[in-house]
């Protein structure tokens, strides 16, 4: 059972890397952004299946940090700087959301 899971995961990752870097004809920056989008697919898998509430909280926190990286690379691709403004605001809101959800998970109210 464990061997089947390992082989399935390795085949999925290897197929994605092969199609992304050797088959598709894209710019280098777009290929790198594709790798980050594939990582976000894994994070969404953890959000859907993840057993407890703390797992989903960790996954959403990580999703915010990954989005900042994607926005920085998009700004480099289009040569515009306002993408980084969106990234900074996203980081701020993600931090506040993480702290407040952690407080609710602990069992206290928000004005404690």
């Amino acid at each position: 059972m464990k061997i089947i899971r390992w082989v399935t995961g390795v085949i999925i990752v290897a197929l994605f890397m092969y199609f992304n870097f050797f088959i598709m004809e894209l710019t280098t920056l777009i290929k790198l952004i594709n790798v980050l989008l594939f990582s976000i697919l894994f994070v969404l898998i953890r959000v859907i299946i993840g057993r407890t509430a703390a797992d989903r909280l960790v996954a959403v926190d990580i999703l915010g940090v990954l989005t900042i990286g994607i926005l920085a690379l998009l700004g480099l691709f289009y040569n515009e700087s306002f993408f980084m403004d969106i990234g900074l605001i996203w980081a701020l809101l993600s931090f506040i959301a993480t702290l407040s959800f952690a407080k609710i998970l602990e069992g206290r109210s928000l004005d404690d």
Partner: protein
């Protein structure tokens, strides 16, 4: 020219760190293990991407915003990780069966026994 080469190498290293951190988030067995792998790796990876963009762009508006982003991520990400792990332990989420030590639970027992 040399700026673009160094910046591209830093961006590739950051994306590799991001990918392995997310792989640990999917693969590891426990909330605390997943938190450790994901937070450390992904924070360092995104900071690497922003540093590469800063080296490519130089000190214009985009570069200054990247510096602010690096400082903000390094300040806020450990605070969020600490809050999540403390809340998970207080909410009663068990450690995985293979772990051998739980200092926080021993500490709480010691404090309760000393107050009685």
């Amino acid at each position: 020219m040399i700026n673009e080469i160094i910046g591209t190498i830093l961006i590739c290293a950051g994306i590799a760190f991001d990918f392995f951190g997310v792989l640990g988030l999917v693969r590891l067995p426990d909330v605390y293990n997943r938190l450790q792998a994901a937070t450390k790796c992904v924070t360092f990876g995104t900071a690497g991407i922003l540093l590469g963009v800063l080296i490519i762009q130089g000190f214009n508006a985009f570069g200054i915003k990247c510096i602010i982003g690096i400082i903000f991520i390094f300040l806020t990400s450990p605070v969020g990780a600490h809050a999540i792990s403390r809340a998970a332990h207080r909410a009663g989420i068990k450690l995985t069966g293979e772990s051998i030590v739980d200092i926080y639970a021993e500490d709480k027992e010691l404090k309760e026994s000393s107050t009685k």
